[in-house]
């Protein structure tokens, strides 16, 4: 098998899109034609395919997160326009006045619950992509997390638009034709955008990245949450977030409807939805923390390697978790953290972590 065949096979195995593959093979065919026999110096075709795939996987993951966010923003605008025009110029029909409550309940579920999921997952996907925009090769697990967030967000976006369409159908005999046309048409347009985004995402997901590293979780996305008492208690974070969502939306509803009772009802409902979302989707979208770093690169590195700020941050995390677990006193923690900050080599960093097994 020739070098080029090898390369072509490796590129396919790594899931590179056909266009990219063809271009790469053509360029390298030209290269070899310029100087027959130079294959040895080109390097291992496998390594080359890996470096193409790793970088492409990273940039495609970021790109698809942004495309997803844009498509969801369009869907959000569609939902808002539909609801505002409905409230202002048409009138809310009673829920039992439609064709069937079998249409009404899934419609409302899609229009009320799904947008929350889409907002959280879509924002987390885009935020991670934005925060890591300068990184050349993201770890495969982090790429998978971005993809998962985008997928959940897109699914929720589809559910929202489907809910709106169901609502249009349910009240097709009650609501004015102009509103039915407006909402139904806009939702269809947004659906096309969501579909396009899901195609982009599917192409990105096909690419295999081999870069190792941790995927990161919500505490990496929002460092302000990284307080120790919260970091070690993800369930508390979920509960607090649910209560906050419930209070905020309950207050909003009470204000809008001038009714404390409706506010309490809405608040409890939304809080419950947020809590269920956290339980069901929390790990998938990285809202619950990832397992702590197993292999700190600094710990595995040669002793004289110079450490980076990211290594110090990881080491500090290990120390703080040891303190939380009762293995260190506060004084020891302070001393060791100072040592971590002063460490220049992997050996010094390891000394600062002595006698503490990295959590596995």
């Amino acid at each position: 098998m020739s070098w080029l065949d090898n390369l072509s096979g490796e590129l396919r195995a790594r899931g590179l899109p056909r266009r990219d593959r063809q271009r790469i093979v053509l360029e390298l065919r030209d290269h070899i034609a310029c100087e027959p026999g130079c294959e040895d110096r080109l390097g291992d075709p496998r390594e080359l395919a890996i470096s193409f795939a790793d970088e492409l996987a990273t940039s495609e993951a970021r790109g698809s997160a942004f495309v997803t966010f844009a498509a969801l923003a369009v869907a959000a605008v569609v939902l808002i326009i539909s609801l505002i025009t409905l409230g202002r110029f048409a009138r809310y029909p009673g829920y039992s006045n439609g064709i069937s409550t079998l249409l009404f309940f899934p419609a409302i579920l899609g229009m009320v619950v799904a947008p929350q999921v889409a907002l959280v997952a879509g924002t987390l996907a885009a935020w991670r992509a934005l925060r890591r925009r300068r990184v050349l090769n993201l770890p495969a697990e982090e790429i998978a997390l971005i993809h998962r967030r985008a997928r959940v967000a897109l699914a929720a976006g589809f559910a929202t638009m489907a809910g709106l369409e169901l609502y249009v159908i349910d009240f097709s005999e009650r609501l004015p034709a102009w509103w039915l046309g407006l909402a139904g048409g806009l939702a269809a347009v947004a659906g096309v955008g969501l579909f396009a985004a899901s195609r982009t995402l599917a192409r990105a997901r096909a690419i295999v990245s081999g870069t190792r590293g941790r995927r990161g979780d919500i505490y990496d996305d929002l460092p302000a949450l990284g307080r120790r008492w919260l970091r070690t208690r993800p369930w508390l974070l979920g509960a607090l977030a649910s209560v906050a969502v419930g209070l905020a939306l309950g207050a909003f509803e009470a204000h809008a409807e001038h009714s404390v009772l409706e506010g309490i009802q809405r608040g409890m409902f939304e809080g419950l939805v947020a809590a269920i979302g956290f339980v069901v989707l929390g790990r998938a979208i990285g809202a619950r923390p990832a397992p702590t770093p197993v292999e700190s690169t600094a710990l595995a590195a040669p002793l004289d390697r110079l450490v980076a700020d990211s290594d110090r941050a990881r080491a500090e995390l290990v120390l703080r978790e040891s303190y939380a677990g009762g293995r260190l006193t506060l004084d020891e923690l302070d001393d060791r953290i100072s040592a971590v900050h002063a460490a220049r080599t992997a050996a010094q960093l390891r000394a600062a972590l002595a006698h503490i097994a990295p959590p596995s």
């Binding site: 360029e27 034609a33 080109l42 080359l48 193409f52 940039s59």
Partner: protein, 104 residues
């Protein structure tokens, strides 16, 4: 010099080469070797991922051209690439002056 030492410097070197004259991958590599007096010992294939990366970041652009019946991808520098190269050049000069001042 091994690829590791070159790490992070390959992109500006490619930019500097392409800035003079648009070229295809093989020609870029030859120029790099010629200029450096053969000091860079890199897996030569790695310039292609680098070129694709530069293109994705908008620092070079490329198009197919046909020469003596062979299709080849020719790269040229963009405006963003030229200004990025200027910045990297300045940084490198400061850096090498500082090293020289210390090492003598």
């Amino acid at each position: 010099m091994k690829t590791d030492t070159l790490n992070g410097q390959l992109d500006p070197l490619i930019l500097a080469t392409v800035a003079e004259e648009p070229a295809h991958g093989y020609a870029i590599l030859q120029r790099l070797k010629e200029r450096s007096g053969g000091a860079f010992d890199l897996a030569e294939g790695t310039i292609y991922p680098a070129l694709h990366r530069l293109e994705r970041n908008g620092l070079v652009s490329s198009s197919w051209s046909t020469e003596s019946g062979r299709r080849r991808r020719v790269y040229s520098i963009t405006r963003a690439g030229a200004s990025s190269l200027e910045v990297r050049r300045r940084e490198w000069k400061q850096f090498s002056l500082a090293i020289e001042a210390v090492m003598g």
